[in-house]
């Protein structure tokens, strides 16, 4: 199966995106097709043997749209996009300032005489002495303000006439009605000077100005929500220092190939992913992994493009370039996550789709009712405009996408990459977390845990064992070698090395025949364990593997090896449990070892002796019990279980397959991030619900008041200006509330 993203052109409404989804899903071999109208993107998963991009594009073309395979944006393109956004924001600001400059004198002229201490006004503009001057001046000022806000009318009426009114339509109809009514009154002034009392120019102009102010603040805040991706883009340097024929040459990173040798100077950024060949340094990977402590790098270690090299020069062999780099993959994941809709977002879209026509009907109905009950036209108009303006569902439309953008951005800051809005939403419902033991709860690498000897010193026993194990490729042997090297030991050369398959090794060290191996070796060779038998039993009880070191036929001692529990595992499991989630430990180990580790980390339940191919079944059993299951694993053998789970989490950036099958990728090998991911999801969903709640409450409470429901009982009527102010405030409130997510501490 292959997943691709296409840019779709020609879509104007939800019906268009549904049509594109429907036709592509009909293609034999397509399993998933999701179209996002906001980003004009389609994400499609298909069987490469039965479908190809040409077929997909053809199908979309026949449906009346056009599709083009998305090309990943380069850093330069992203910068251009940023410049375009800034220019657009600049234009909005220019129009807003223009509108404010003309709206303020209009407000002064029209309402200055209404305040308790009337404002001075030239006689030629006096309302009752020169009513025509008074009205025409307002007409001119209003026309200029409406010109600055002409976009509402162009877009609003266009969509209205197409039968698909939107929020701009509400503003356009409301303020347009107020303006036209006032215009008619102005024309009537020469014949009836009392018509001057029924001017609503200032309502139209101020409402448009306030909505423009709201839109400006909203655009400015929305720009901030996508900052996370932009910051990541800016991490990658443009230039790399290529080492060729012993010479240094500065080249654009695009020209560097996998396999090239590059120089990373101290204080500069690592341009691409690679393996350190020469040099030692501390590297800050915090922007990519969330790990705040610099990581020591030495020859053989992997470095990530975009990380900061602190104090030493390193020669690095480039391993990944272009879209294969870790940074490019992270950016792609985040873009996809922010482009994919969460189910809760679809609900909001549907509601908003019915909302605008409903509001139009309510406004019309209210106007008709007040008109037939004998109220003057000015009163009816005030009701009509107020309902249309206050009901604008901008806040409703913004509630979910802004929170998801901020939530995924915050996750990335901690090295938690959430691949879709859906994953972010489901994560908060998780009732069971299954943690794979090896590599997830434990380090995944065996380590020397205990050394027991009565015959020689611990150090000498370890040096002897490690020297003999040096040629061995067995993980347990390598663990002993690493244990000695970590203690700074210089290993000695051995001769006549031989592997005893399934039992251990033998070699000659200092002219002595040495055997290192398990209990089976000891028993088969009839070595006398003596007091070491008891120690070995105790070690096995603790889930460790005792390796017996024998010189000639004398047992010198035990070097015990075990996969150790990560430092943060127990605390993380306790934290996960504190969220009301049950924690399961899954392992292929025998029950005794599994129980020991499970008890150490305080897991709620331990499921042992599970073959890799049966891991997915364990997930589905828990799902059948009605639980939303999160599976956390790091290896290829976890992939089916990750895919089966409601939320699959690949830990420690995982294998490529594990990453593909997962919904969430944790860049660090730290279980605390599982807790953080659940907490982040809970906070984001709570934020979305708050946003939706306030948007709904605002509209549902505002509409009846604006429609004059309280008026017959002595209650207030809503002034259109207040309605405009309140409507703009609700959008700004929702975006600001979403941005508040950035401040939560995931600890």
């Amino acid at each position: 199966m292959k997943t691709e993203t296409y840019n779709i052109k020609g879509m104007t409404c939800a019906s268009c995106s549904a049509a594109v989804e429907r036709v592509t899903r009909k293609l034999d071999g397509v399993s998933v097709s999701n179209v996002n109208l906001a980003t004009n993107k389609m994400t499609i998963t298909y069987d490469e043997k039965r479908v190809n991009p040409e077929l997909i594009m053809n199908k979309v073309d026949r449906a009346g749209f056009s599709a083009a395979l998305e090309v990943p944006e380069t850093k330069k393109e992203k910068q251009e996009e940023k410049a375009e956004q800034e220019e657009a924001l600049h234009k909005i600001r220019f129009r807003l300032i223009g509108a404010i400059i003309f709206a303020l004198p209009l407000l002064y002229i029209s309402m200055g005489h209404m305040v308790p201490w009337p404002m001075p006004l030239p006689e030629m503009l006096h309302m009752h002495m020169h009513p025509l001057n008074f009205a025409v001046t307002q007409l001119i000022l209003t026309a200029i303000v409406l010109f600055f806000g002409r976009k509402f009318y162009i877009v609003g009426f266009k969509t209205l006439f197409r039968g698909h009114p939107n929020m701009d339509s509400l503003v356009a109809i409301g303020t347009g009605s107020a303006f036209l009514y006032s215009l008619v009154m102005t024309i009537m002034i020469p014949s009836n000077k009392h018509a001057v009392d029924q001017l609503y120019y200032e309502s139209a102009a101020i409402v448009v100005t306030l909505v423009m102010l709201g839109k400006y603040l909203e655009s400015r805040s929305k720009g901030k929500t996508s900052e996370a991706i932009r910051k990541l883009m800016e991490l990658a340097p443009d230039i790399a220092v290529l080492l060729k024929d012993g010479k240094e040459q500065e080249v654009p990173v695009e020209q560097v190939q996998a396999g090239d040798l590059i120089l990373v100077r101290p204080g500069s950024k690592v341009p691409l992913d690679g393996i350190v060949r020469q040099g030692v340094s501390s590297v800050d990977e915090s922007m990519l992994t969330g790990e705040s402590i610099p990581v020591e790098k030495e020859p053989g270690d992997e470095v990530i493009g975009g990380s900061m090299n602190y104090n030493g020069a390193m020669q690095v062999t480039v391993s990944r370039v272009g879209s294969d780099t870790t940074l490019a993959k992270i950016i792609k994941l985040m873009e996809d996550a922010q482009g994919k809709k969460a189910p809760i977002s679809k609900l909001a879209d549907t509601v908003a789709g019915y909302f605008v026509p409903a509001v139009l009907l309510i406004a019309l109905a209210a106007a008709v009712i007040w008109a037939v009950t004998g109220h003057p036209a000015s009163f009816v108009l005030r009701i009509f405009v107020s309902v249309l303006v206050i009901a604008c569902p901008c806040a409703l439309g913004l509630a979910t996408p802004t929170a998801i953008m901020v939530g995924t951005g915050l996750g990335a800051k901690y090295g938690i990459l959430i691949k879709s809005g859906e994953a972010l939403e489901i994560t908060h419902k998780v009732g069971a977390v299954i943690l794979d033991k090896t590599g997830t709860i434990t380090e995944g690498k065996p380590k020397v845990t205990e050394i027991i000897s009565k015959e020689i010193s611990d150090d000498n026993l370890l040096l002897l064992a490690a020297s003999c194990e040096l040629p061995s490729e067995h993980p347990l042997g390598q663990a002993i070698v690493e244990g000695a090297r970590n203690r700074g030991m210089q290993l000695k050369e051995v001769t006549d090395f031989q592997s005893l398959t399934g039992k251990g090794i033998q070699a000659v060290y200092d002219e002595n025949q040495i055997y290192i191996g398990n209990l089976r070796m000891v028993e088969e060779m009839h070595f006398d364990l003596g007091d070491y038998q008891k120690a070995a039993d105790e070690l096995a009880e603790k889930g460790q593997t005792p390796m017996f070191v024998v010189r000639e036929s004398q047992v010198l001692g035990i070097v015990s090896v075990a996969d150790t529990v990560k430092e943060t595992s127990k605390a993380a499991i306790d934290k996960i449990r504190s969220l009301g989630v049950k924690v399961y430990m899954l392992t292929g180990d025998n029950k005794r070892t599994a129980a020991y580790i499970g008890k150490q980390v305080n897991a709620d339940e331990v499921i042992a002796e599970v073959l890799p191919e049966d891991k997915a079944s364990v997930v589905s059993i828990l799902q059948k019990e009605g639980k939303k299951v999160m599976m956390v694993g790091d290896g290829i053998n976890d992939a089916p279980a990750l895919a089966q789970a409601d939320v699959g989490v690949a830990i420690g950036s995982g294998s490529d397959i594990a990453m593909e099958s997962s919904d969430v990728v944790l860049m660090k090998s730290d279980l605390m991030d599982v807790y953080r991911a659940i907490k982040l999801s809970k906070s984001t969903i709570r934020n979305i619900k708050e946003n939706l709640f306030w948007a709904f409450i605002f509209n549902t409470c505002g509409i009846p008041v604006a429609a004059g429901l309280l008026y017959p009982f002595g209650g207030p009527l809503l002034n259109p200006i207040i309605a405009g102010l309140a409507m703009s405030f609700s959008s700004v409130f929702v975006v600001t509330n979403a941005l508040r997510l950035r401040t939560i501490k995931l600890k």
Binding site: G10, M11, T12, C13, A14, S15, C16, A18, A19, V20, E21, R22, V23, K26, K59, R62, A63, G64, F161, R162, G163, H164
Partner: protein, 65 residues
């Protein structure tokens, strides 16, 4: 013979434009109504079948009424 096809998913002018373009290309005698969400085909059974196929390609689910 006139056959009316109901397309509930026809929501906007863009939908009408797409239908019109495709029907014209197929040389069919037709009439689209956004208000009623219908496409009326004037022609034989073959024309109706062809129109249904076109609507399917455009992503609309149609019912004959």
């Amino acid at each position: 013979m006139k056959t009316v096809l109901k397309a509930e998913d026809m929501h906007c002018e863009k939908c009408v434009e797409r239908i019109t373009k495709a029907m014209k290309a197929a040389d069919l005698d037709f009439d689209v109504s956004l208000a009623n969400k219908t496409v009326t085909i004037d022609g034989c059974e073959h024309c109706v079948a062809q129109a249904k196929e076109i609507m399917d390609d455009l992503g609309f689910e149609v019912k004959e009424i």
